[in-house]
């Protein structure tokens, strides 16, 4: 009885994401895969996979059938998960290969030397279905399977890029024109985000500890910080301009430090204020949910207040504090995009340029690295949170 119902639950948990991924992937087969543009401002014409290449359509459909078959066949859970994650990886890499082959050949056929292949709905849907399969099953595959697949995906994409196979893709075109600026903006983006989160850690963690230690402090600190969170980011950036402009007029040394109404300073300050809440809240919560027996044991063994904090409370709270910093980091990498509006650097510059020029490829070029950054940062934190404190059970 028990095993029966267990198996049903398990297979349902396996099937749900599979069904979801397959529906999305199948939709991708029918949607236009690419938009073929004559030049960057051209509206372009859609190109669906079915109309472009029958063999590829068959192959893709087969790829989408495999997960369905696998989820119905009896096999050990981790083997199944490994297969599904593998298929997911194929679905992530395949669209790029299609762009390099079908897309490029269409450009040659239509004699569009300066034309470009802009990824369209079908392209993104296929990748999305791959990501669903991969992220659902890579962990259940256990061991190094997930890591190996990530390395394989990255390697495939990098090799394609390095061999020049992806040059016809629209946002790669945009990137090629701005290669140097891309890297300086990427670094600016990271610098702004890191300075904001870094200072939020320096303020938020002590504030969280203080709120826990001195209940009097808690209310005012929390109401100010949560209040800040309710201001829309765009408005907060705007609000920074006037007071900072005034201050830098008034005190020339501030201007020498680079603090003006627009630019990096207001952006970093606003992003810093946004990062405070998750860090403060997690620090406070991690300390206040701690097992009172552990603290009593620490006191009873003769720890001083300082030893209690540094040898016991902070180490035990660390996983939760780190997840606060993780949330703040991911959120800030995204919000830094908006900072471009008030003259701060960063990848947001490309996004807003693209919006201004009605050039969607440029927007995509700015957005892709932001998304990748956010995912990488999230995973890096997940890795450290899961391993830094071996004795403490954590949610990864």
């Amino acid at each position: 009885m028990v095993t029966d119902s267990g198996a049903t639950v398990e297979s349902w948990l396996v099937r749900k994401p599979v069904v979801f991924a397959v529906i999305i992937g199948a939709t991708g087969v029918f949607l236009p895969l690419f938009t073929i543009r004559e030049h960057r401002l051209d509206g372009g014409t859609g190109l669906s996979l079915l109309s472009a290449s029958v063999p590829y359509s068959v192959f893709l459909t087969a790829c989408l059938m495999v997960p369905v078959v696998i989820s119905l066949v009896r096999m050990p859970a981790r083997v199944r998960a490994g297969f599904l994650a593998g298929i997911g990886s194929v679905l992530i890499v395949l669209p790029w290969l299609l762009a390099a082959t079908i897309g490029s050949s269409v450009l040659v056929e239509r004699e569009l030397g300066l034309g470009r292949v802009a990824p369209a709905g079908g392209f993104w849907f296929l990748i999305l279905s791959g990501i669903i399969l991969f992220s659902e099953f890579s962990r259940a595959a256990q061991g190094w399977t997930g890591t190996l697949l990530v390395v394989a995906i990255s390697l495939c994409l990098f090799v394609m890029f390095w061999l020049g196979l992806l040059e016809d893709i629209a946002f790669i075109r945009e990137y090629r024109v701005r290669e140097e600026r891309f890297f300086s903006e990427l670094i600016a983006h990271l610098r702004i985000a890191a300075m904001a989160v870094g200072s939020a850690v320096l303020v938020g963690v002590p504030a969280g500890i203080a709120s826990y230690r001195y209940p009097v402090v808690r209310k005012p600190v929390f109401s100010v910080v949560s209040g800040l969170q309710t201001i829309p980011s765009l408005a907060l950036f705007g609000l920074m301009i006037a007071p900072l402009a005034f201050l830098s007029q008034r005190y020339p040394f501030l201007r020498q430090l680079g603090i003006r109404g627009i630019g990096n300073a207001p952006a970093i300050i606003a992003l810093f204020l946004y990062s405070l809440l998750p860090i403060l809240r997690n620090t406070y919560t991690s300390l206040s949910v701690m097992d009172p027996a552990v603290i009593e044991a620490g006191k009873g063994m003769g720890m001083t207040q300082k030893q209690l904090l540094f040898m016991l409370e902070i180490p035990v709270a660390l996983p939760i504090i780190l997840s606060g910093i993780r949330v703040a980091s991911v959120q800030t990498v995204g919000n830094t995009t908006v900072a471009a509006l008030i003259g701060a650097g960063g990848l947001g510059n490309f996004v807003f340029q693209g919006l201004g020029q009605a050039a969607p490829d440029l927007i995509v070029m700015g957005v892709i690295p932001i998304v990748v950054l956010a995912i990488v940062i999230d995973r890096v934190f997940g890795f450290f949170i899961g391993r830094a404190i071996p004795g403490v059970r954590t949610v990864e």
Binding site: V294, K299, G300, G302, M303, V392
Partner: protein, 318 residues
């Protein structure tokens, strides 16, 4: 020796301790017992100053605890609590070495000490030293909690319902282990519990408390034999005579005479058992006495219903 001298403690307006006076002699186990809210845990925490009294004195070896620097006092007193309170981010070995670390002992010393103590409490040092608390069972964690309290070799041990969170079967094992450990170590122990059977098993002396007052301070046999008032009588229960038999050992009351023992008797009792167990076994056979065997299963003599009755009635033991 630890003395409580007219100690008063308030929680807000509630008088948790109402002039408590008792003494804890060196080298034996004094159990504080009573219903919840009687002030037993509060009293315990006054010794290592997790709480401070509002009036009266707590003295250790004649010196008021107030006169010690609080951290120093605590490092000199072993402390065991109900849910073990092991630090989750440290290995078993580091948990045990914590007080020595606070006292500035070096790493090698702490490691050796931790391994010795694991041996002493009956956990294999090499498989347990590097485990984390989350990998231990409740009973194992509690043993490590005791080892940690012993690490700096303190003369005094405070135990706050140390086995309260362990299942009954394991609890009895832990109690027996504690009793044999205490026979070797002769610490001055204050042991808080609300479980009378546990108290009778481990105590040299029992302090019975109710509503912040000491009702009776006596040896377990005395408390069970002569409860001093109605509350004490009710607390020790109607089976107090039986419980009292649990304090006496078969070996002290058996007769060496083996002539009346039939060798084919299946029911026998080990010499190390209590009279309570012996009685229970005699009641299950038609005869008035059963053989007593040693650990090697050899017959040493017999124990009779008559001998048990004499012990229970308060007859002198030999």
């Amino acid at each position: 020796m630890i003395e409580f001298d007219r100690v008063v403690k308030y929680y807000g307006t509630h008088r948790a301790l109402d002039g408590v006076t008792f003494t804890v002699p060196d080298g034996c186990v004094t159990v504080l017992i009573g219903p919840s809210g009687c002030g037993k845990s509060t009293s315990l925490k006054l010794v290592n100053r997790l709480l401070e009294p509002d009036d009266g004195y707590v003295r250790v070896d004649g010196r008021p605890v107030k006169s010690f620097a609080v951290e120093e006092l605590r490092r000199g007193i072993g402390y065991v609590i109900q849910s073990a309170g092991l630090l989750p981010h440290m290995t078993v070995q580091d948990n045990i070495g914590l007080v020595p670390r606070l006292l500035g002992r070096d790493k090698t010393w702490r490691r050796t000490r931790a391994l010795d103590l694991l041996e002493l409490i009956g956990l294999d040092p090499h498989s347990y030293a590097r485990k984390y608390p989350s990998q231990l069972s409740g009973g194992e964690a509690q043993r490590v909690g005791v080892a940690r309290a012993l690490a700096a070799n303190p003369p005094v041990l405070l135990m706050d319902e140390p086995f309260g969170a362990v299942d009954p079967l394991n609890r009895e094992t832990l109690q027996n282990e504690f009793i044999s450990l205490q026979r070797k170590l002769k610490k001055t122990v204050i042991f808080v519990t609300h479980d009378l059977d546990e108290a009778v098993r481990v105590a040299d002396r029992i302090v019975l408390m109710q509503d912040g007052l000491v009702i009776q301070e006596a040896a377990p046999e005395e408390l069970l034999g002569h409860p001093s008032n109605a509350f004490a009588r009710e607390f020790v229960g109607t089976d107090r005579a039986l419980k009292r038999l649990g304090r006496f050992s078969v070996s002290d009351y058996m007769s060496q005479d083996t002539s009346r023992v039939e060798s084919e008797d299946h029911t026998s009792v080990p010499a190390s058992a209590t009279l309570r167990e012996a009685l229970s076994r005699i009641l299950a056979v038609p005869s008035d006495q059963i053989p007593v065997r040693d650990a090697q299963n050899r017959i040493l003599g017999s124990i009779s219903l008559e001998a048990i009755r004499r012990a229970g009635y308060g007859g002198a033991s030999t």
